[in-house]
Symmetry: C2
Subunit: 435 residues, 2 copies
């Protein structure tokens, strides 16, 4: 039995969850791994704050240096969020020879290269299972289960707030604003939900996943990112009529050996796709790899205990490596490959397009002509009755076409007098239906 000392920085929702799990399952973890995990110190902003959990006051401090300078602490667990403060404290911890665990996806997406580099230099580990997909062990799966495989594509429902809102729109006909309000009331959305609904949070997560899946640091700011804030109930209905549901997906796929495309956007997927049944606040990640084929991992993507559970799994892994004296493997965090990032504009998709057009004869012919001129072929057309004033909805589903060509065509169409812009462009994919 070996004792490993932990320093916890932050005692908010996830921090309290970590503390509770470690307390409740201390003996269980000891029996399973022979390791005694001891929370030696907890740093918080406000020592006097009332907490929902019962913590021994003698281990609480408001000074993070009490943790960083404590030579008996082996692992620092950063659960404060934000960028600059977290970056500083993780950097200092690594410099003081401490392993680090974090759930901070924004930080890793933006500063991952620097932090992993520093960790490697000092022969230390950074555990970050909790940063993507909450309780879903997706980092482990990519790093360990698929270590001998090559990943071809990742499709992730990795923002619980968006998935909750879209589920309510699809299943209960709630409009976007009402569903968002309900999500906030239920705690599935933040008071400021900007990063959730504009796709930014999903972009952080797909950046992290893609970096490890494709062994190449993905610059966060190069990721095309479109959220769900422009999805209307009409589009949900028409998609359903065409056999699709709408999910916000983080997507990364390999085009050729050294080219990948990483992006976030709402996506129409067939209702029998394995991702279509992932509802409400649940997350799921579908991976297509060369040898394993399609595999999918789903579970709660956020919340106190799911996220804390992932943090605890990292604590045990790193603690075990310390206790059983494993030598540091510098290869583990190396992104040995340099992939070229292909912009979305050169990708090929099927498209769902909705135009608000005047209700006059000849309009479909006009629009279809513009598509033909741009090498886009149409698979299905739906025309819907009165929309507003004298406008109607014209919905087109295309065959595979290049994003560039579609954008060009839409630009032309949106300038026509018969069309009330902006037109709606959504992409269609078939994740998990290929094998």
């Amino acid at each position: 039995m070996k004792k490993i000392n932990l320093g916890l920085i932050g005692l908010g929702v996830v921090g309290s969850g970590v503390y509770s799990i470690l307390k409740e399952n201390k003996k269980h973890i000891l029996l399973r791994r022979g390791i005694e995990l001891n929370v030696k110190k907890i740093a918080v902003k406000d020592i006097t704050k009332k907490r929902s959990i019962d913590v021994d006051k003698s281990i609480i401090t408001s000074n993070i240096d009490d943790i960083i300078n404590d030579t008996e602490i082996n692992i620092v667990i950063e659960l404060v969020g934000g960028i600059d403060f977290s970056f500083d404290l993780i950097k200092k911890s690594l410099e003081k020879n401490k392993h680090v665990i974090t759930a901070n996806k924004a930080l890793l997406a933006i500063k991952g290269k620097e932090l992993f580099g520093l960790a490697n230099k000092n022969q230390l580990e950074i555990g970050f299972e909790a940063s993507v997909g909450g309780g879903i062990p997706i980092i482990r799966t990519i790093k360990d289960a698929l270590v001998g495989d090559k990943i071809k594509s990742i499709y992730g429902i990795i923002n619980g707030t968006s998935n909750y809102i879209l589920t309510k729109m699809v299943n209960e006909n709630q409009d976007f604003n009402y569903a968002l309000k309900r999500a906030q009331e239920l705690g599935f959305a933040e008071a400021d939900p900007t990063l959730d609904i504009n796709g930014g949070d999903a972009a952080h997560k797909i950046a992290i996943l893609a970096s490890f899946a494709f062994n190449s640091i993905i610059p966060y700011d190069s990721i095309y990112c479109e959220g769900i804030d422009k999805i209307e109930l009409n589009d949900i209905y028409y998609a359903k009529e065409l056999g699709y549901t709408i999910k916000l997906l983080g997507i990364a796929d390999e085009i050729m050996e050294n080219q990948i495309c990483v992006r976030v956007h709402p996506t129409l997927i067939p209702i029998d796709s394995p991702l279509a049944n992932i509802k409400n606040e649940f997350n799921a990640i579908l991976i297509d790899s060369h040898f394993l084929g399609n595999s999918m991992y789903s579970g709660k993507g956020a919340g106190m205990f799911p996220t804390a559970n992932a943090v605890v799994s990292d604590i045990v892994e790193i603690a075990e490596n310390i206790a059983y004296n494993i030598e540091f493997n510098e290869y583990k965090n190396i992104h040995y490959s340099k992939k070229e990032l292909v912009p979305l504009s050169s990708k090929c998709y099927q498209y769902y397009l909705r135009f608000n057009t005047l209700d006059k004869p000849g309009i479909l012919a006009k629009i279809a002509g513009i598509f033909g001129d741009n090498k886009i072929s149409i698979a299905r057309v739906i025309q819907k009755g009165k929309h507003k004033d004298s406008f109607v909805h014209l919905i087109l589903e295309t065959h595979d076409a290049y994003e560039n060509d579609v954008q060009k065509a839409i630009n032309i169409i949106d300038k026509l007098a018969i069309v009330d812009p902006p037109s709606t462009i959504l992409r269609i994919m078939h994740p998990g239906n290929s094998n």
Copy 2:
């Protein structure tokens, strides 16, 4: 960079897959983990046999002692199947200080206690990710991702053949025998499919999963096991009418702190259950754990490369532990807990029951009366037209009732002159719909 020597025993479907992956992704694994994996020797039954893969003849032997006695070989990979021969060679390998990897679920289910005990005594690891769920990293997930959590229940679609047959029955109205024949033609069922369709294979797998999930060796022969061979198309139709689909599930759940129930049987599950969309040869395992809640893992449960991929993930993990000198953690394979196995007869379920009854007035009253006498309350009734001669189908869905009481009632009913036995008893569960 460290070189680890492997001895492969068996070069059938999975063995060939392992060899191919190691060959194709040797550099990839080296770059990811700094380990060179070298297949030093391969033992096969027949050296002269033509093989679909190109293997250097100089490393092939027909004598397994060439591997077991080779002191340079660090890891033995057993891929021959069967019980006695495999048990012997694994035992010998462990005695000769070699780590072992196996995909042999029958062996582990039956002889696991002895083998893990021997491995622990000699401070060696047994990798067995490939034994359950093919390419799904479920053993890793239970042992590592959920190490700090407590598992409440496991529901597994863990026999691909059964799932393929049931999918064809549900989606294409194929009858059992036709679907089985198709599965054999497509390679999803063995020439002798007995263990697949009688539930034995699923029982091996749930025994392994439950042992590690509940930290207690589950004696294989104590598992209640019922296969899909008695499922009729009629039951598929009626289940659908009631909102259910039918899956063969391996199930293990905790009743109280020290009691678990482990069994395999066809199960009616709601069509919107996350397990309902797992189709054809795919497997899925749904776990409900105390902190994480419901999480699900799905992918191909068998086949050359999915299974080989799991073997390779074990090779890399054990090779890394050897290369980076981790000390052996004896706790890892200890089943520290002793759980009481609760028999199915004392479990509580909802039931789907089908009776072949005469088409006469008063029969429902008679049968309902017997249910009432046995404390079983009825939720829904369907009566279907002519079945054979003058018999009709009477389908009952019960509220929660004890298996014991239901069996008692059925025994009485099957002896009535108005009933043509045997009646069909299927259990209804709601996996994944609780949270």
